[in-house]
């Protein structure tokens, strides 16, 4: 009976169940059910984190079948950190979405079921222990995300969804081809079985598979130059959807890239490939920030900011490849901290942007005047999220930047220091572009309505979390270290 109470399977079953139920119940009751269920998922994720801290990483055999025939679930520190992030972002966003869809109901019928499937896919992906299972979760994640982009209808969102769908299908196609090559070589798809088998002298099919899988993930993570699909998809969807996608969905594929690089394909990694990934990240930071600065629509600005922030995640690869273990651990901690901080802050930022758009009735930075007076808490949340993205203290973004800078200086890779500093200043430029406008008095002819309190407070909760992460991030790093060879 203890098995029945294990949090691992429930983290996947629960969202699937409430997603399906929400389809039947409709958006009103479905939304309430979702909020309650996500809170429960959060408690389960915390319970799991406690188990890990106490007794280390763990494996769960679904239905008791065991690997090769059955499906294994695996939870180590990295996976549980991502699980915690997912539930922590999803709960305030669910509260937010209830208020948001009450104010602008387009697409509310399909939001809750698709979000349930999206969260189930995310949780399953983080817990998957084999490559094929990951493929299935990747596809479920992609289809749910594409569906969410399209729920509001309209030419721009549907076009964006179509483009996103083609990109994500191509990405998972590449992943599956890689899985086929791996299975053909080793006769297994289990991460635990494969990891000791792969070594630097592996047959050509293996590095080819690694390259294909990684390329598929980069496409899905929207790393420069594969970012073309992201801004229209994230900028065109309803605000709660944009927030879910920017905060969580691209993190899932980043998480996989990290696992492949640091664990499965570690013997195959080279400094040159790592530097290439870092260079793409640097290009993303600069290009995304400059384009963000040029946007006149608020949500497009935030979406391009995501393109830029994804770049920071990939700086971790050159900083963790073939360097002293201490520097590599610090880089990993910095990269994961960045993923978590960005997840919280970007969700807050999209949520705040959504409130401003609801209030002003238009998505235009030039007409934000008066927002500071009418929606001070929302603007404050946007500002706090901006502080995290800029990497200013005290915030999770700052802790991440500190760790990454430290590891760059320690390994003598000063060029990444320059990239991070310039990126931070560019981020400040586009964040203050918004704040400055919102501080101005309302222009004649513009309107700024009030928005429901839940919109303001849920965005603030996310922003505050991204700040507090900077002051209380130590336990998260302790959790991250569980299951990693010291």
């Amino acid at each position: 009976m203890t098995d029945f109470l294990d949090p691992l399977p429930w983290l996947i079953v629960l969202p699937l169940a409430w997603g399906t139920l929400a389809f039947v119940l409709g958006p009103g009751r479905g939304g309430r059910l979702a909020v309650a269920a996500i809170a429960l998922q959060g408690a389960l994720a915390l319970q799991l984190a406690g188990q890990l801290i106490d007794s280390g990483a763990r494996v769960y055999a679904v239905g008791g079948w065991g690997a090769s025939l059955g499906i294994d679930l695996m939870a180590d520190g990295l996976a549980v950190v991502m699980l915690l992030l997912t539930q922590a972002v999803a709960l305030p966003l669910a509260v937010y979405a209830r208020g948001y869809f009450a104010a602008s109901p387009k697409g509310r019928e399909l939001f809750w079921p698709l979000t349930g499937f999206l969260l189930a896919a995310l949780n399953a992906l983080f817990l998957s222990a084999d490559l094929f299972n990951i493929y299935v979760t990747l596809e479920l994640l992609g289809l749910a995300a594409v569906g969410l982009v399209a729920i509001a209808g309209g030419t721009q969102p549907v076009t964006a969804a179509m483009r996103y769908l083609l990109a994500t299908l191509l990405g998972s196609g590449a992943w599956l081809l890689g899985v086929a090559l791996i299975y053909g070589t080793y006769g297994s798809v289990s991460l635990a079985v494969l990891t000791p088998l792969i070594h630097s002298g592996a047959p050509l099919a293996v590095p080819l598979a690694a390259a294909l899988m990684l390329a598929g993930l980069l496409l899905k993570t929207a790393l420069f130059p594969f970012h073309f699909w992201l801004p229209p998809a994230h900028g065109g969807a309803p605000a709660p959807v944009s927030a879910l996608l920017s905060a969580l969905v691209i993190k899932a594929t980043f998480y996989l890239a990290l696992r492949l690089w640091l664990e499965l394909f570690l013997p195959l990694t080279t400094v040159a490939a790592a530097q290439l990934l870092g260079a793409l990240g640097a290009a993303a930071i600069l290009w995304g920030s400059v384009l963000a600065l040029m946007q006149s629509r608020l949500k497009m600005l935030v979406a391009y900011s995501t393109v830029a922030q994804v770049g920071y995640l990939f700086l971790l690869f050159p900083l963790a490849t073939q360097v002293p273990p201490a520097a590599a651990e610090s880089a990993l901690a910095g990269g994961v901290m960045q993923a978590v901080a960005h997840g919280l802050a970007k969700a807050a930022m999209f949520a705040a942007a959504g409130s401003m758009i609801v209030a002003t009735g238009r998505d235009d930075i030039g007409h934000l005047g008066g927002v500071g007076v009418r929606l001070p808490l929302t603007l404050f949340s946007f500002g706090l999220a901006g502080v995290t993205l800029m990497g200013l203290p005290p915030s999770g973004g700052f802790s991440a930047k500190w760790l990454l800078l430290g590891s760059a200086l320690e390994t003598g890779q000063w060029w990444w220091v320059v990239v991070m500093i310039v990126g931070g200043l560019l981020t400040a430029a586009y964040v203050f572009k918004v704040l400055r406008r919102a501080f101005l008095p309302r222009a004649a002819g513009d309107r700024v309505a009030r928005v429901p309190r839940t919109l303001e407070f849920s965005a603030f909760a996310l922003a505050l979390a991204s700040i507090l992460l900077g002051l209380f991030g130590a336990p998260l790093l302790e959790l991250l270290a569980v299951g990693r060879a010291a």
Binding site: P393, G424, L425, G473
Partner: protein, 502 residues
């Protein structure tokens, strides 16, 4: 309440009221004022307790681990309390002044919210126990002051705000690189008397010099060292209380105070001397002193003249720090306090002239001494103090700085001080002459507050400058008394140098 919480309470006593004030409706004036003043008084109470304790050899340290190997440390030592007390006392006066100054203006909740955050950041800077904590509050200060600079929302204010951000965030980035590099090299460097870096192997000397350059450049932006001073005169577009407290005291002092910490308590004065870092710093400070004074001479805008004067005067502190020897240290540190009191008086008065009569320019000040005698008296005390006329506060600073220069074997610094004093006289005395001795023009530019009986302007505008002017006189006259800035600084200098004098 246990000791470690006292420094944290000092920070919270302005943070919490500030956060509450943000969300108060504009019309809740009474509640807002109560919160502001209660915060200021409670803070002073906590500081008083700690002053007593530190005088008697106690230590107050609050420590919280943020990341493995990185702690947030608030440490109330004698040096911290010098700056904390200055900011907290002046915060009280400035809050009173701002309540009068902004009466009836829009967006006051926002203003006072950010104003409280600024003070929070300043006391945090003062009590930071290591470079990480210092950086944290240093950047918070940037973020909290920006909305105050652009408070009026005019194009000019927005432009000034942009430049302000570009300078301060750029400086912050340099400081961050220097700090992270230093942590990588030496681990967590807490501020301790005498510094801790001299234990590093001699091969690190080159890196340490480079790090010093990064740190000083990052701090020099806020301290307005030439050529990093461009933001300060532009930021004068902010409302007068902001110029008075923040740009004359908090922000520039945060930079100068950081330089003090880096030289004395990270590198250690002797080690800095052995790395040949002090002479370049002294030269940079001297250039700033002369350049600021020269530029002040040619400003007709009163606030801009005062701003350039700030550029010049803050560099006195840096000069004092870079003079190798306890007397120079005393001169530099005591000027941190004295300059703050004198300059805030001058800015309060400038604000009074602008608010009462619409006077913004020196050329409009003819005969203002007869219309506003009390304000002009306060202004005169501040100005004469700046020049260094005995027995005002500025005299004590300059005396110790000069003696310190001789002790350190840098007689040329004495020449810098003399030249700067002459320049001070050259840009302040004509103002006093106009105000007291020239006949008034037919009408003031824009008289907003009429004379009411004895009150030449609103009481809340007049009392703070008079109080700080009296302080200018008192800190000079009673420099030898217990708990005076000078005797407190002597206590610091003794502890700072005892650490390495065998």
């Amino acid at each position: 309440m246990s000791d470690p919480w006292l420094p944290a309470m000092v920070v919270l006593s302005s943070l919490l009221p500030g956060l509450i004030i943000f969300f108060l409706a504009e019309t809740r004036i009474r509640l807002r004022t109560t919160l502001n003043l209660t915060g200021a008084l409670v803070k002073l109470g906590f500081i008083g307790v700690m002053l007593w304790g530190v005088q008697n050899g106690r230590e107050y340290v609050f420590r919280h681990t943020v990341l493995p190997g990185i702690d947030l440390v608030l440490h109330a030592d004698a040096l911290a309390l010098l700056f904390v007390t200055l900011s907290a006392v002046l915060w009280l006066f400035t809050t009173l002044y701002a309540i009068g100054y902004l009466e009836g203006a829009p967006n006051r909740s926002r203003f006072f919210g950010f104003f409280s955050l600024c003070v929070t950041a300043t006391v945090g800077v003062a009590m930071a126990g290591n470079l990480f904590t210092f950086f944290l509050f240093y950047e918070l200060l940037t973020l909290a002051t920006y909305p105050l600079v652009v408070h009026r929302g005019t194009d000019k204010a927005l432009r000034a705000g942009r430049i302000y951000l570009a300078y301060t965030l750029g400086g912050g980035a340099l400081l961050l690189i220097g700090t992270v590099w230093l942590y990588g090299l030496a681990g967590q460097v807490d501020f301790i008397q005498g510094g801790s870096l001299s234990a590093l192997p001699p091969e690190a000397a080159g890196q340490l010099q480079l790090i010093f350059l990064l740190l000083i450049a990052g701090l020099g932006v806020k301290a307005a060292l030439v050529p990093l001073h461009g933001w300060l005169p532009m930021a004068m577009v902010a409302p007068a209380p902001v110029s008075a407290l923040l740009h004359a005291v908090a922000v520039v002092k945060a930079g100068a105070f950081g330089i003090v910490r880096v030289v004395y308590e990270v590198y250690g004065i002797e080690f800095a001397q052995s790395l040949a870092l002090l002479l370049p710093l002294a030269i940079a400070a001297s250039i700033t002193i002369i350049w600021g004074s020269l530029r002040a001479l040619f400003q007709d805008d009163l606030k801009k003249r005062l701003a350039y004067s700030t550029v010049s005067q803050v560099a006195y502190i840096v000069l004092g720090v870079s003079l190798f020897g306890p007397i120079g240290t005393i001169g530099g540190l005591v000027h941190l306090v004295h300059q703050g009191i004198m300059k805030i008086t001058l800015f309060f008065c400038a604000g009074n002239y602008a608010e009462t009569l619409g006077i913004h320019k020196v050329s409009e000040m003819d005969g203002v001494g007869r219309r506003m005698p009390w304000t002009t008296l306060a202004f005169s005390l501040g100005a004469l103090g700046m020049i260094g006329v005995p027995p005002l506060a500025g005299f004590a600073s300059k005396w110790y700085l000069g003696a310190g220069a001789l002790e350190a074997g840098m007689p040329w610094a004495l020449a810098v001080l003399a030249a700067s004093s002459l320049l001070n006289a050259a840009y302040f005395l004509p103002i006093l002459h106009r105000a007291w001795f020239k006949p008034a023009n037919d009408a003031w530019p824009d008289e907003k507050i009429p004379q009411r009986g004895r009150w030449e302007t609103a009481p809340l505008l007049l009392i703070p400058p008079l109080a700080t002017a009296v302080a200018t006189l008192a800190t000079g006259l009673f420099a030898g008394a217990a708990f005076s800035p000078l005797s407190w600084v002597e206590l610091i200098a003794v502890r700072e140098y005892l650490a390495w004098i065998p």
